[in-house]
Symmetry: C2
């Protein structure tokens, strides 16, 4: 399961937001077997625009993710920082990555 | 170096485009040490909209990529298939991935 999250962050709170996001990503990758990638980037022409390329093993892994303490903490902590959030569903064409995880 | 490519493909040629893209990604990941990920997805609400999440070891790896035979073949083969192409420069916040490659 693949999704692209498109977020706009309050520029004044951007660094605090990034810290909260990093903590959430580190915990998710470390603790959840079904969270495969959370690639978070800031657009260069507008760094308050965040994109997260999310891949989960399956829909259940995603549902489990939403119920974890670290995800709930992130959602609560960033509530006033996020100006807009768009979740874009996507389907793999080919997820090519160095190392053993060359996923279709 | 991180970039998001946003492409719109001629719907009639979409399957041919995806085949050419898969071939290009497989060759790039297999042959180029500096190509770290080429994650290609189709948006569910409009599958002719392709997004490619690209990470390269550095700018030189990207420049080398542009000169490879497989990339040039892909560009030539898909020239009439691609209706629009937007390259969005981005900077990592945290690239979290299962396995050993947990990159900042």
């Amino acid at each position: 399961m693949v999704r692209i999250a498109e977020l706009e962050i309050d520029p004044v709170q951007l660094e605090a937001y990034k810290d909260a996001l990093r903590e959430e990503i580190e915990a998710s990758i470390r603790l959840e077997p079904g969270v495969l990638t959370l690639y978070a980037v800031a657009l260069r022409e507008n760094p308050a625009q965040i994109r997260i390329f999310e891949t989960y093993a399956d829909v259940n892994a995603y549902k489990t993710h939403l119920e974890t303490p670290h995800f709930k903490k992130y959602k609560a902590a960033t509530q006033t920082m996020v100006r807009s959030l768009k979740l874009v569903a996507a389907d793999p064409v080919l997820l090519g990555a160095k190392s053993s995880d060359f996923r279709r």
